[in-house]
């Protein structure tokens, strides 16, 4: 999906421009996951879902159907990297897959945050002057 620079204000709320170069879009699940990784720590899927739920007071709950596809999409786009931990007996010998945010991911998250902050700043504008 390509977006012209002048179209930024016309984007749907669920899809916000985060990259000037790649015009990559992040959805709300991906944004939440990047935000949960912003402290630079490596975290695995279940831990990330818990962190997002806790940080949003239970308002954002990432289930299996949204969590893993979002993580893989972030990895494909270069926003996170993944690494397997050691096999764990309590997981039936399966390793945890840890994710870490990349510089590009951090930049995307920051840009996402400023975009949303800008959007919410609109509410501070007087209604008489804000109508178009």
């Amino acid at each position: 999906m390509h977006i012209n620079p002048g179209d930024q204000g016309r984007l749907a709320l669920s899809e916000t421009k985060v990259h000037d170069a790649g015009m990559t879009l992040l959805n709300s699940n991906q944004t939440a996951l990047l935000a949960a990784l912003m402290d630079g720590q490596q975290r695995y899927g279940l831990e990330l879902a818990d962190r997002v739920r806790d940080r949003t007071n239970g308002d954002v709950v990432l289930g299996q159907g949204t969590l893993y596809p979002a993580l893989r999409a972030l990895e494909r786009d270069g926003f996170v990297t993944s690494a397997e931990g050691p096999p764990m007996p309590e997981r039936g010998g399966r390793p945890r897959v840890f994710y870490k945010i990349t510089g590009e991911g951090r930049q995307a998250a920051e840009q996402q945050r400023s975009s949303w902050a800008g959007l919410f700043d609109l509410q501070a504008m007087p209604l008489s002057g804000g109508s178009q």
Binding site: L25, N27, N29, Q30, Y44, G45, L46, G63, Q64, G65, T66, Y68, P69, A70, L71, R72, A73, L74, R76, E84, M88, P89, E90, R91, G92, R94, P95, R96, V97
Partner: protein
């Protein structure tokens, strides 16, 4: 409370495995707000595993509004390897060995089947996380029905996510997560 001893002597665990078991059980029951509980058994096996059984009563209300006490029991295992003083409790192994609910057997069957057919990345990550999640749910007192539901939704989502991944690889673009 019985105190079975087998394998290495209790001295291998600096504070003694029974004291350790009691402390862990107290913490666990306290986190669940259970007052009426007992440490039924504790032991330290030759393979360096501390195991103990906690039994408690929970007051439950059925759909007709009738209340009653239900006895519950949980077996906890802790791996104690290397320097016991440093490692105890660090490697927490699953609970529920003797009274493993049917849901866990069901999970074992379906997850093994999925492991054979789904992409490795998915089975390692999603099924591994699901097993951890099931254990957490069970530890937090989830009902067998809730555990069964978790197993079935995991199977469903894993199959769907596997299809998404295959399609994504085939089409060369993301069909998921966006």
């Amino acid at each position: 409370m019985t105190d079975k001893r087998s394998g290495p002597p209790a001295e291998a665990v600096p504070e003694g495995y029974t004291a350790f078991a009691m402390r862990e059980a107290t913490e666990l029951m306290s986190s669940r707000n259970v007052k009426d509980w007992q440490l039924e058994d504790s032991g330290y096996d030759a393979d360096g595993i501390i195991r103990f059984v906690v039994r408690w009563y929970e007051t439950t209300t059925d759909r007709n509004g009738r209340t009653g006490d239900v006895q519950k029991e949980q077996i906890l295992l802790y791996v104690c390897s290397g320097d016991p003083a440093q490692q105890i409790g660090a490697l927490r192994v699953v609970d529920d060995v003797v009274k493993a609910p049917q849901a866990f057997e069901s999970a074992q069957f379906w997850f093994s089947w999925l492991t054979a057919v789904a992409p490795k990345r998915i089975t390692k990550e999603e099924l591994g996380d699901a097993i951890e999640s099931l254990q957490q749910m069970h530890t937090n007192g989830a009902s067998p029905a809730q555990l069964r539901w978790k197993v079935w939704t995991t199977v469903g989502w894993t199959v769907l996510n596997a299809i998404r991944e295959v399609m994504s690889a085939f089409l060369g673009k993301s069909v998921s997560g966006k």
